[in-house]
Point group: C2
Chain length 128, copies 2
């Protein structure tokens, strides 16, 4: 009678990873400063979340310095890839194409964005 831990980082975990990705390896104080600028939270909570994330292997900790320095143990690209795969699987019946087409139709892209994407596609088409 239970619920398996989500394979994806949770909400707060993602916010903390976001800080680490943007700022690079940082002590708790710094992480917390950035985190509390986007969400109301307590220093203790940040410490605790980092310890949970450490257990999950989402971050690493350098204890040889004081204060300890945390760094992301997963890359932004890797996390994006996993999340994307997850959404495609859960909501797009496995079709990345559907997702891409909906993203293009829905989230209005600029002329430049479209051109850039088109060039990528042309390149991919050429590779085949």
């Amino acid at each position: 009678m239970a619920r398996p831990a989500s394979e994806q980082p949770t909400n707060v975990e993602l916010q903390i990873l976001g800080v680490l990705w943007d700022e690079g390896p940082s002590p708790v104080r710094t992480i917390h400063r950035h985190l509390s600028s986007i969400k109301q939270t307590n220093y203790s909570t940040t410490v605790k979340m980092l310890s949970v994330m450490l257990d999950k292997g989402l971050v690493r900790r350098d204890e040889s310095v004081r204060p300890h320095v945390y760094r992301a143990a997963v890359t932004r690209a890797g996390a994006q890839k996993r999340a994307l795969k997850d959404v495609v699987q859960k909501l797009y019946e496995g079709s990345a194409k559907s997702l891409v087409m909906q993203a293009l139709s829905t989230q209005k892209a600029s002329k430049e964005d479209l051109a850039e994407i088109r060039r990528l596609i042309e390149r991919l088409e050429g590779d085949q």
Copy 2:
């Protein structure tokens, strides 16, 4: 000291919505048959989840017939759109373009898929 309810449908909720989207309005028995073919679960659990989803407004129930018939109260397209927006915001710093480009690079698309997407882009570019 809490966690706000996720604004997105949860895992199981999504699986149930998937059944309703595929099968159309159905009684619990049918929903459960499909659900249990993709995940080990108990009939009671399906009933309960549907009642939770009813409270959240994710499904509607027609009690005028017996057995009751459930239907999705959110469309697949709408749920996809919300989920996409969520991922873009949480992991792509709000840039749908990044997401699209990564989806294209990562999830290998077929020649046909790429061509189809390219045509969409060309059409979108033309509209501007």
